[in-house]
C-alpha cells in the first residue's frame, strides 16, 4: 500500500482519539435491551412448550448427581488421595460389586443414598483398575482388612476417607495403587491439549439400557376392537379384547452411538437405538396373558457436558432428544398372532449423568443413569411410554476413540 501523504497522517492523529458525546440514556437503553434478550433466551430454553419445561427439569435432575461427584473429587484434592479412599470404599462394596452395578441399572430398586451410590459406582471401577494394574484380586485381599475397620467403612464411608484408608491402605502395600506413570500424565496432557484446541474427536460406541416397568390396571385401557391403528389388519378373536390389566416389562435398548467433541467441555452424540417393549395383557381378569411386543428404532441426538475429566475417569451430564418409530409390533396369544402398527413418531427428551472409565487410550466403558420423558404421541398403542412417561433408565456401554 502506498504510504499516506503527510497531511493524511495529521488527520489520522487528530481523529484517532476523537469521540462523540454519548447518547443520552444510551447505557440504560442498552442494559434494558440486554436484559430483555437474556430473559427471552432463558424463557425460550425453559418454557416454549410444556415439553421443554420437562426437558429442562430432567437436565437439572441429571446435573445433581453429576455435581455431587464433581464436588467429591474437588474436595478430595489429588487423585491419589481419592484412589486411596476408593480402595477403602471398595472393601465394603467389593462383595457385591457386580450386584451394585447391575442394581443401579434399575434405579427404583436402589435404597442407598444417592451420594453413596455414586461413590460406589466409582469405587467399583477404581477397584477394577487397581486389579488390572496390580494383577491382584482385591476380592481376595479384602478380608484382610480387620473386621472393625470394615465396619467403619461400611457405616461411615465419609469417615473412612480419613481413618480406614490412611491406616489400612498404608498397612497393605500390595493394595497401594501405583502412582501415575509418565504415560498417564502424557496422555492427560494430550487429552487436555486436544480438548483445549477443540480438536474434533470421534467415538463409536455400543450401548445397552434397561428401563423401569409399570403395571396398569383399570378401565382406561384403549378398546382394541375399534382401534384401526392398533391392529394392522382384520378382525379376529383378539380384536375384541378389552384388557383390564397391562404389565409392562422393563424396556430393553441396544444401540450404536457416534459421538464427537464440540468444544472443550461439550460433545454431541447420535446413533441408532433399538428398543424392545414387552407387555403382558390380561383380558377380563384372566390370568392368561397375551404378549404385546413392540420393536422401535430410534435416532437420538444429545449434547453432553464433561464435568470432570482425567485419563481414567470422565464424568459428564447430557441432555437430548430421541425420535422413535415402531418398526414392528404384534400381539401374541396362545394360538393367534396379530400384527400392530403405530404410524406416529414417539418423541422423548432425556437427561443423564454418566461416569466413564477409560480402560485404555482408546476404549472406555460407562455407566449412565438416565431420565427419560416420553411425549404423548396420541397414538392408540398402549405401552409403557404412555403409562409411565417419566422413566428412569440405566445405561451401560462402551466407547471407542477413532
Amino acid at each position: 500500500m502506498k504510504p499516506n501523504e503527510p497531511w493524511i497522517e495529521h488527520l489520522q492523529n487528530s481523529l484517532e482519539n476523537y469521540s462523540e458525546e454519548l447518547p443520552q440514556g444510551g447505557w440504560e437503553r442498552l442494559e434494558k435491551a440486554l436484559e430483555d434478550k437474556e430473559r427471552k433466551k432463558r424463557i425460550f430454553w425453559l418454557f416454549p412448550k410444556k415439553g421443554w419445561a420437562a426437558a429442562a427439569a430432567i437436565l437439572l435432575l441429571a446435573m445433581i448427581p453429576a455435581s455431587f461427584i464433581h464436588e467429591y473429587h474437588s474436595v478430595k484434592g489429588t487423585f491419589s488421595e481419592v484412589r486411596k479412599t476408593d480402595t477403602a470404599n471398595a472393601v465394603y462394596s467389593n462383595k457385591d460389586v457386580v450386584a451394585v452395578v447391575s442394581t443401579s441399572l434399575s434405579a427404583n430398586e436402589i435404597k442407598r443414598p444417592k451420594r453413596e451410590r455414586y461413590m460406589t459406582a466409582i469405587s467399583t471401577k477404581t477397584a477394577d483398575s487397581i486389579k488390572e494394574k496390580l494383577g491382584v484380586d482385591t476380592t481376595n485381599t479384602a478380608p484382610q482388612i480387620p473386621e472393625d475397620e470394615r465396619q467403619i467403612a461400611y457405616t461411615e464411608p465419609q469417615k473412612s476417607n480419613e481413618t480406614a484408608s490412611n491406616e489400612s491402605v498404608t498397612d497393605k502395600k500390595a493394595e497401594e495403587p501405583k502412582p501415575y506413570t509418565i504415560d498417564d500424565l502424557l496422555r492427560n496432557e494430550i487429552q487436555q491439549s486436544n480438548l483445549g484446541s477443540a480438536k474434533k474427536e470421534w467415538q463409536l460406541g455400543l450401548m445397552a439400557a434397561v428401563g423401569n416397568g409399570e403395571k396398569t390396571e383399570g378401565d382406561q385401557m384403549p378398546s382394541l376392537s375399534v382401534n384401526r391403528e392398533y391392529f394392522s389388519y382384520g378382525f379376529n378373536s383378539l380384536a375384541s379384547v378389552e384388557p383390564d390389566r397391562m404389565e409392562h416389562h422393563l424396556p430393553l435398548s441396544f444401540g450404536l452411538t457416534v459421538s464427537t467433541s464440540l468444544s472443550k467441555h461439550f460433545g454431541a452424540e447420535t446413533g441408532v437405538v433399538y428398543t424392545y417393549l414387552l407387555s403382558d395383557v390380561y383380558e377380563n381378569g384372566s390370568s392368561n396373558s397375551q404378549k404385546q411386543q413392540l420393536h422401535y428404532l430410534g435416532i437420538p441426538l444429545r449434547i453432553s457436558y464433561i464435568v470432570y475429566s482425567s485419563p481414567r475417569i470422565d464424568i459428564y451430564a447430557a441432555m437430548g432428544f430421541m425420535a422413535e418409530k415402531c418398526v414392528s409390533g404384534r400381539i401374541v396369544s396362545d394360538n393367534v398372532t396379530v400384527g400392530m402398527r403405530e404410524n406416529k413418531l414417539q418423541w422423548s427428551a432425556n437427561g443423564s449423568a454418566g461416569v466413564q472409565y477409560n480402560l485404555s487410550k482408546h476404549v472406555g466403558i460407562y455407566l449412565e443413569p438416565q431420565i427419560n420423558y416420553y411425549f404423548d404421541n396420541h397414538s392408540f398403542v398402549k405401552n409403557v411410554y404412555k403409562d409411565k412417561p417419566l422413566g428412569i433408565h440405566g445405561r451401560v456401554g462402551l466407547r471407542v476413540n477413532l
Binding site: 500500500m1 499516506n4 501523504e5 503527510p6 497531511w7 493524511i8 497522517e9 495529521h10 488527520l11 489520522q12 487528530s14 481523529l15 482519539n17 476523537y18 469521540s19 462523540e20 458525546e21 454519548l22 447518547p23 444510551g26 447505557w27 437503553r29 442498552l30 442494559e31 435491551a33 440486554l34 434478550k37
Partner: protein
C-alpha cells in the same frame, strides 16, 4: 481496570464491566459510525445494535495485547455499519456529482493546516462528504483497508474505490483550506 480484565468480566456477563466498556468505547465508536452515517439518530441506533451484538459475541474475543480490544470493537462496529450501508444500498443511491475533475497530481495540503482544525470539525467535514466518498475515505484512511479490500466490502470495483478516495481527499482539502482562510 485493564482491557484484558474488562473483556474477561464482560465475557462472564458482569453488568458493571459491560457498563464500563460502553462508557469507555461508545464515544469513539459513535464517532466511527457518524463518519459513515450522517444522521445522529441512525448512528445511535447502529451503536446500540452494535453493542448488543458485541456483548453477544464477546466470548469470541481473544486479548492480544493493549489496543486489541479497541481494534476488535471497531471491527465489529464497522461490520455493523457496512451491513447497514449495503443493506440499504446507500452507495447506489448516491448520484455522483462533482465539480472536481480527476487531476493527475494528487491534491495535498500542509500538515500544520490540518492540525489547526479542531477534531470535531474535521469529523464534521468528513461526515459532510457524499456517502460514497466518506465511506471509501474512512475505510482507506482510518481503517487502513486497501482498495482491493474496499472493493470487496462495498461490492464496487477497485477503480471506483480509488476514484472516490481521490475525490474525497480533494473535497476535504478544499474544506480545510476554506476553514484556514476563514480563521486567518
Amino acid at each position: 481496570m485493564g482491557e484484558q480484565e474488562l473483556s474477561e468480566r464482560c465475557k462472564a456477563g458482569d453488568n458493571e464491566a459491560r457498563r464500563l466498556l460502553y462508557e469507555k468505547y461508545a464515544g469513539g465508536l459513535l464517532a466511527l459510525c457518524r463518519r459513515y452515517v450522517r444522521e445522529r439518530a441512525i448512528a445511535e441506533d447502529l451503536l446500540h445494535d452494535g453493542f448488543i451484538h458485541i456483548f453477544g459475541v464477546i466470548d469470541k474475543f481473544q486479548w492480544r495485547g493493549d489496543g486489541s480490544l479497541r481494534a476488535w470493537l471497531e471491527r465489529v462496529m464497522l461490520n455493523k455499519v457496512l451491513q447497514y450501508i449495503n443493506k440499504n444500498d446507500l452507495l447506489r443511491q448516491t448520484i455522483e456529482i462533482s465539480d472536481i475533475g480527476d487531476s493527475i497530481s494528487p491534491p495535498s495540503i500542509d500538515g500544520d493546516e490540518v492540525d489547526k482544525v479542531p477534531p470535531a470539525l474535521l469529523q464534521q467535514f468528513i461526515s459532510e462528504l457524499p456517502i460514497g466518498y466518506r465511506t471509501v475515505f474512512d475505510l482507506f484512511v482510518m481503517q487502513h483497508k486497501s482498495h482491493k479490500e474496499i472493493a470487496k466490502l462495498l461490492n464496487i470495483n477497485e477503480k471506483s474505490s480509488s476514484s472516490q478516495l481521490f475525490r474525497a481527499k480533494s473535497l476535504l482539502i478544499k474544506r480545510i483550506k476554506e476553514y484556514s482562510n476563514e480563521t486567518e
